[in-house]
Every structure is written in structure tokens, then in C-alpha cells.
């Protein structure tokens, strides 16, 4: 057995072994051969974590969205990254009628789905696919509804099932959405990365073969890249979608190299093992700018890093305790030590660039004395013990949660609160958070669209508390009323007044302490052109070109 194996190898390889050996012996280090096309025009994006799934409907985590959404899928509407306005995506045009309760979308013709080893499409995209996609979320009879635990966190947090009464195909290329009430954020939500369009034909194939679970692990979409392979914690490999309906993607191959460690990701950028690196460490931005072979891109981004208290647990159910803890934290020190000054202190969950921002909020003061007094009033004159959960990965809104937690640990010790820092591997961390096992957590949120609602309902509403994405586990009727009323009116002025009131209410109730709005950074190799930071949602890599000399 062994012999024959050796034999075939030598047979096949003799013609290549000799020169190879020579080349190796001369210089393992220096030899730079002519690389094949798929390798040369391939792009390596070093990401910070593994995706949980390949279906954006099922998650809210930025890590997953970055890796899958813009690469594999298209949406009915897109967001213009320049100004945040909605532009046509798979839907060429759309009409609103019946006082904002009925929407018609006309689909772009000849949009092809991916052709892969496991699926060959026989028809282009039509209205059936859109109906299939959205019925999966809202119709419990849908064959795929139960897949992945029937959990659609983003859609549940915006109350989708209650809002949308039906999605129907009026014509092969026309889809009709009927709503139970007008909702001023509806179109924006359709443009988020979560609202990716799946293939009904692929779904049918899986129903026939009985492998329902594959729909979320072996994805089929219409996006610029098609799925090739995924090795957990190692890499995701995509190839160019040759029949893409828009301009073809520039890289023939796109690899997401999964490197959770920040220092290692930077090292890979410097050794050119990565072309684009997610979240370079802000502390090293100066270092990167000194090097000619790499550069940094910076843009303002809609995000918020915060410290959420599990308000369903004692003592965090007491508003005085929450306020005391908020007063105990020295945010200026955090901005310096964790964000290295590349962030602005946050007063509200909403970034100041949003039109609904409330500029009249009181500035959160660092005041250990008042914090102590509030603790005493709440009945904890000697403090208590608590856990701070710090996420293990770097995210836009919080470049180093563990370090932030260490700083806060020292701050809290001054008012007699003994904090211990807890962290798990990222996927377990999110799972345990969803089950509300935490006391408090350092985490945050990046906007998926320009609508202010995106900062309130997915984060702090009662429905978000039910799905597990409300990190403060906070359900408050007054607050829910304010944000749902804001949705019913299309009048921007009136909406704004509701959101102002909601922010004021949050500042009083303090279910979470807003810490900072961070700039978004991305480090790229200088020979890469055409990669831009999108202020909303995930990263798009279809237009990246590698300069090969």
C-alpha cells in the first residue's frame, strides 16, 4: 500500500520535483516565482472572527455580517454610502400607496443566482424568491422557518412579523408588501444587510433532498461572490460570481483569513499575508502611517460603544445603582487609554451626526463622591461584587474591551464595588449574553442604516429583550411607547421630538452607559485600490483591485 502510494507520487512529480528542489535549495526565502492568476488577483481580507452562519437574516453580529452579507447577497434596496440615502438594489423602482401601508417593488431583470458544486440555478431571480425570503422570517408554516431555532433577531427587534401582514408576488417581477400600519423606517430596514434575498429554487432543492440545514451553511445568493469553502476558525473562500448582474467583482478569489488576535492581524498586514485588515489597532495607527507599503483609511461611522447593565438582575434593577456606577467611570481615561483619542465621548446612544440627536442632554460627569452617595441611597453603602463581561474580540465601537474592563475595575474599586472581568470565546460569549447570564457587559452597536430607529428598537426595546439582543435586558413601557410612536409618523420634525424625549428618558434611566462613538479604521496594503469604508453595515470588497507589477 505504502509502496504504491510512493510510486504514483514519484511518477507524477518527477518532472517538477527537480527544479523545485533546486529552487528550494537555492533560496527558500528569496525565490519569487510567477504566480498563477487565481492567486495573483485574489484578495485576502483578514477578519477578526468566524461567522456564525452564512445567512444574514439570523444574526446581528457585525463579524458575521462583514463576512457574508455584501459578498454573497444583494438586497432590494441599497444605501448610498455618500449620503445615506436609499438607492435601487435588486428592486429597480418602488411605489408607496394606501397611506404608507402598501409597497410595490419592481425587480431588476436577469439577475442570476450563484452556480456552485451543490446548486445549478435554472432561472433568474423573480418575485417568488423575495416572497420565499421574507416568508421564512414571518410565516411559521414556511419549511425553513424553524431552521436555526426560528430566531431572526434583527427582524424581531423591529417587530417585523407584526408590521408586515403579507408579501405576495403580483407579477413575476413585482412584489407587494402589505403593512398593518405605516412605518417610517420600513424601507431603511429593507436596505440593511440583514434583508438579503435568498433563492427559492435552492430552497426547493433542499426540501426535496431533505437537507434543510444546508440553506444557512452552504449559501446561494445573487451577490458578487459565490461560496467555495469554509474551514471553521481558519478561512472562508469565495470565488467570483461570473454571471453577476452588476459589474463583475474584480478579485477572482476572495479569502477571509480568520485571525482573532489583533497583533497577529497587524503582523500579517506587515508581512503582506493580508491585503486588507479589519480593525487595525488604534494604538498602532501612527506606526502604520510611517510605513510606505500600508495605509490607513478613516471615516466617521454610526456606532456606539456602551456598558449595559442586566437590569433584570439585582442590584442593577435599581436605577440609583445604575446611575452610581455610571458616575464612577472615568470616561476621559478610557477614551485616552482604549481609543487613543480616536473617538468622541458619547452622551447618548445616538451619534451626534444623526438628525435625531438630542444636543441638550446633560453631560455624564465622572464623580466618585456622588457615585458613593447614590450607592448609599440605594442601600449599598459598602458596595457589592459584580461581573463585567468584556468581549474577546475587537470591534469598531470598542477596540479593546478587556483593557476597558481593567480600567473600569480600578474605577469601581474606588466606590467599593468589586468587579471581576469575564470573557469567553466570541461565539460562546454571544450565546451566553443572549441567555442573559451576565451582570453587565461591554459591547456596542454599529448602525446598519441611517435611520435613528436602528439605534433604539434593536438595542433597547421590549421585543429585543425577548430575542436576547437587548444587552440591558430592559423592557420599559414608556420608552417603547416613545419609539413606536416615532415610527407611525412620516413627519421628520415630529419623529425628532419623540426621539429627543426617548434619549432624555434613557439618560435618566441609565439602562446602559454610553461610552464612545468611534471612528472606523481599516488598514490596507498600498497595492490595493478600490476598497472604501462604508459608514453603514458591512464591508464590500467587490471593487478591490490588486496592483500587480
Amino acid at each position: 500500500m505504502k509502496l504504491t502510494l510512493g510510486h504514483t507520487i514519484t511518477m507524477r512529480a518527477t518532472h517538477s520535483v527537480l527544479p523545485m528542489l533546486l529552487c528550494t535549495i537555492i533560496a527558500v526565502v528569496g525565490c519569487q516565482p510567477q504566480l498563477p492568476q487565481t492567486v495573483r488577483s485574489g484578495l485576502v481580507y483578514c477578519s477578526e472572527g468566524s461567522p456564525e452562519t452564512f445567512n444574514p437574516q439570523l444574526v446581528t453580529s457585525g463579524t458575521t455580517i462583514d463576512a457574508i452579507s455584501q459578498q454573497l447577497y444583494d438586497r432590494l434596496l441599497d444605501i448610498n454610502p455618500e449620503n445615506g440615502e436609499l438607492i435601487p438594489g435588486l428592486a429597480q423602482l418602488w411605489q408607496v400607496s394606501n397611506e404608507g401601508k402598501v409597497y410595490h417593488f419592481t425587480l431588476h431583470p436577469n439577475v442570476e443566482f450563484h452556480q456552485t458544486e451543490y446548486f445549478t440555478p435554472t432561472r433568474p431571480l423573480n418575485a417568488e424568491d423575495v416572497v420565499f425570503t421574507f416568508n421564512r422570517i414571518m410565516n411559521s408554516q414556511h419549511p425553513f422557518h424553524q431552521q436555526g431555532g426560528a430566531n431572526y433577531p434583527f427582524f424581531q427587534s423591529v417587530d417585523w412579523a407584526d408590521l408586515v401582514t403579507s408579501v405576495t408576488a403580483e407579477a413575476p417581477n413585482v412584489v407587494k408588501f402589505e403593512l398593518s400600519r405605516p412605518d417610517s423606517s420600513f424601507l431603511s430596514n429593507l436596505a440593511t444587510d440583514f434583508a438579503a434575498i435568498l433563492s427559492a429554487e435552492y430552497g426547493q432543492q433542499l426540501v426535496t433532498s431533505g437537507e434543510l440545514a444546508l440553506i444557512d451553511s452552504k449559501p446561494i445568493g445573487t451577490g458578487p461572490f459565490r461560496f467555495k469553502e469554509y474551514q471553521k476558525d481558519l478561512l472562508i473562500r469565495y470565488y467570483r460570481h461570473k454571471n453577476y448582474w452588476r459589474e463583475l467583482a474584480k478579485p477572482e478569489q476572495l479569502v477571509f483569513d480568520i485571525v482573532p488576535n489583533n497583533a497577529r492581524r497587524m503582523a500579517k498586514l506587515f508581512t503582506h499575508e493580508c491585503d486588507v485588515v479589519a480593525f487595525p489597532r488604534v494604538s498602532e495607527l501612527g506606526l502604520i502611517s510611517q510605513r510606505p507599503d500600508v495605509s490607513v483609511q478613516e471615516s466617521t461611522s454610526m456606532n456606539i460603544g456602551f456598558w449595559a447593565f442586566n437590569t433584570a438582575k439585582a442590584p442593577f434593577d435599581n436605577v440609583k445603582v445604575r446611575q452610581a456606577l455610571a458616575h464612577a467611570i472615568n470616561r476621559d481615561a478610557i477614551l485616552q487609554a482604549v481609543y487613543f483619542g480616536h473617538a468622541t465621548a458619547a452622551n447618548s446612544v445616538l451619534p451626534p451626526t444623526s438628525w435625531a440627536f438630542n444636543p441638550n442632554l446633560p453631560v455624564q460627569q465622572y464623580d466618585p463622591l456622588q457615585a458613593k452617595q447614590l450607592l448609599a441611597e440605594a442601600g449599598y453603602p459598602n458596595g457589592f461584587s459584580m461581573d463585567i463581561w468584556a468581549m474577546p474580540v475587537q470591534r469598531l465601537y470598542n477596540p479593546n474591551a478587556l483593557k476597558m474592563a481593567e480600567l473600569m475595575q480600578a474605577d469601581l474599586a474606588q466606590i467599593g464595588v468589586r468587579a471581576s472581568i469575564i470573557s469567553y470565546e466570541w461565539n460562546s460569549f454571544r450565546r451566553k449574553l443572549g441567555a442573559y447570564e451576565h451582570d453587565s457587559v461591554l459591547i456596542g452597536w454599529s448602525a446598519d442604516n441611517a435611520d435613528p430607529d436602528n439605534f433604539f428598537r434593536p438595542l433597547l426595546s421590549c421585543s429585543a429583550a425577548l430575542t436576547g439582543s437587548n444587552r440591558a435586558n430592559w423592557c420599559d413601557a414608556n420608552f417603547d411607547l416613545l419609539i413606536s410612536q416615532a415610527l407611525l409618523t412620516p413627519d421628520q420634525k415630529q419623529r425628532r421630538s419623540y426621539y429627543m424625549a426617548a434619549q432624555q428618558y434613557l439618560a435618566e434611566q441609565m439602562p446602559l452607559l454610553s461610552i464612545a462613538h468611534s471612528q472606523r479604521f481599516q488598514a490596507i496594503s498600498s497595492d490595493i485600490k478600490g476598497v472604501k469604508i462604508n459608514p453603514y453595515g458591512g464591508i464590500a470588497l467587490a471593487n478591490a483591485v490588486k496592483d500587480v507589477e
Partner: protein, 298 residues
């Protein structure tokens, strides 16, 4: 001198310990190792007094201060500060306690347990001994890191749990070595003679065996100490051992890995200290081994 010399060589008149020391002190490397070793040992005992700053105090105004030999450095902070403004020098001093001090405790623990079990295995015969031996063979095959992983998985990460793991990992070698040494001694004629004099097991053990295997024990302990130090540091580095903010050297390297471009010193120095500590132990061990060999040859 007198006409009759009972012993041909004056050397042999000295106690075995003195002979050993004589051979030992002839080797420069061994003496150097012993010096460094004593230095580290003193550090373990006195680090709490020696630290110029509180190793856990965060100083917001002095983040990432460079070492004192660079332009922006301060003399009060010889190696600078880390990214939370803690004095690196003080942390390194305290680190000796965790990495090296705990390694010593671990070895002590393993030695005591090994002596107990090894004696039991060496002095008994038959089925009991055979089962014990085979269990030992099994334990010897489980790599120490694997054992640590299992213990951490059961008890959770932390310095204390990994200490148990390393102790358990060292134990089989001790038991094995001690058992063999005892078995070797038991076959000696003088043991049989002593037994014929009516000595019981305990007397044989305490009067004859223990003094005779003492040298071997010391050797085993030094080897185990170098392994234990490396293991504690490695587990700290992997995040399974000492947890932040504990200033254990391995964990400190892992912590400052993020700063490898900005403050390479904070990666280099803890590693250098681990290296020096282990090197000193190994030099002493090698010296002892050579000295013991030479003594027996004479």
C-alpha cells in the same frame, strides 16, 4: 603525618556533601548558575519589599512610558510602564513570585507526593506494585499540557488550578525515579545486612535509603523545577494559567503581545527572565550531575 593512614586520599575523609560541593565549585558555569538562581530565589522572597511602585496601580497620566534609557523615559520607571500605566519593573519583580516561586512550590508538592507513592511502589511487591506501575506508565504518556487542559476544562482557568495540573504532570516522573532508586537500593548487600540485624522497613528507609537517594532526589527536583517554570509560563501565555491582571511572566508576554510594535521591551524582558531562571536551574542541575558523577568516580 602519622605512619598509618587509614584512607589513601584525604578527599575521601570529607563528608559526601563536601566532596560534592568541591566538584561542583570547580565548574564555572555551575557557579554562575547558582548565583543567578540565588538571585531569583531572593527575589521570590523579597519582591514585595523591593518593588518601587505598586505593580497593580494604574497611572492614567503615564501610559506606555518608554524605558528609562530612551529619551522620554523616567528614571523612576526603569523599564517604562504598560498600556494601563503600571510600572513594568515592579510587575517583573513580582512576577518572579508567580512564575518561579510557584514553580518551586509545585516541585516541592510533587516531590513529597512522589516520595510517598514512590516509596510505596518501591517497597511493595506483587500485584499492587504491578497495577501502580502500569497506571504510572499511563500517566507518563499524557503530555503535561494536555493534562493541564483537562484540569482547566474541569475546574476553569487560573493559576491555582494549573499548579495542580503541573504537580500531577510532574508526579509520575518522580514516582518512577524514586521507585527505581529505591528498588536499586533494596538489592544492595548492605540493606540485606542491615535487615539481618533486625531493622524494620522504616529503619531501612530512613537510615539507609533516604541518605543514599538524596542526591538523585535533588537532581530530579532541579530538572522538575525547570520543567515546572516553563510550564507555568507557557500556560500563562496561553491564557489557561494566571489571569490578568496577575503579573505572571508568561501572562505578561501574552498581555503585551498587542504592544509588540510599540513596546517590544514588554515582550522581550519577561521572556528573558523566564529564560534566565530556567537556564540557572539547568546549569545548577548539570553542575550537580557532573559533580555527582565525578565524586563517584573518585
Amino acid at each position: 603525618m602519622a605512619k598509618f593512614r587509614l584512607l589513601p586520599d584525604e578527599q575521601l575523609a570529607r563528608s559526601p556533601f563536601k566532596q560534592l560541593w568541591r566538584e561542583f565549585s570547580r565548574q564555572h558555569s555551575a557557579i554562575a548558575g547558582l548565583l543567578i538562581f540565588s538571585l531569583f530565589f531572593l527575589l521570590v522572597l523579597l519582591s514585595a519589599v523591593l518593588t518601587p511602585h505598586d505593580p497593580y496601580l494604574q497611572n492614567d497620566s503615564l501610559l506606555l512610558l518608554p524605558p528609562s534609557w530612551s529619551q522620554q523615559g523616567l528614571v523612576q520607571y526603569p523599564f517604562g510602564t504598560d498600556d494601563l500605566g503600571r510600572d513594568l519593573f515592579s510587575r517583573l519583580l513580582v512576577g518572579a513570585r508567580y512564575t518561579f516561586g510557584i514553580a518551586m512550590i509545585t516541585v516541592m508538592g510533587a516531590l513529597v507526593m512522589g516520595l510517598l507513592l514512590g516509596t510505596l511502589a518501591g517497597m511493595t511487591k506483587g500485584l499492587k506494585s504491578s497495577v501502580l506501575n502500569h497506571l504510572l506508565d499511563l500517566a507518563l504518556t499524557i503530555p503535561s499540557l494536555l493534562l493541564a487542559i483537562i484540569i482547566v476544562a474541569i475546574l476553569g482557568p487560573g493559576l491555582q488550578n494549573t499548579t495542580w495540573a503541573i504537580m500531577l504532570a510532574l508526579l509520575p516522573q518522580f514516582v518512577h525515579g524514586i521507585r527505581n532508586a529505591i528498588a536499586e537500593q533494596l538489592n544492595q548487600d548492605y540493606v540485606i545486612a542491615y535487615r539481618l540485624d533486625g531493622a524494620n522497613n522504616w529503619q531501612v528507609f530512613s537510615r539507609i535509603i533516604l541518605p543514599n537517594i538524596w542526591e538523585k532526589l535533588t537532581l530530579m527536583a532541579t530538572m522538575a523545577l525547570s520543567t515546572a517554570t516553563l510550564d507555568i509560563a507557557a500556560l500563562g501565555f496561553l491564557g489557561l494559567g494566571a489571569q490578568a491582571p496577575t503579573a505572571e511572566w508568561g501572562a505578561m508576554i501574552a498581555d503585551s503581545l498587542d504592544l509588540i510594535y510599540i513596546a517590544p521591551v514588554s515582550v522581550a524582558i519577561p521572556g528573558l527572565l523566564i529564560f534566565l531562571a530556567v537556564l540557572s536551574v539547568n546549569l545548577v542541575g548539570d553542575g550537580l550531575r557532573n559533580a555527582a558523577k565525578k565524586r563517584r568516580e573518585n
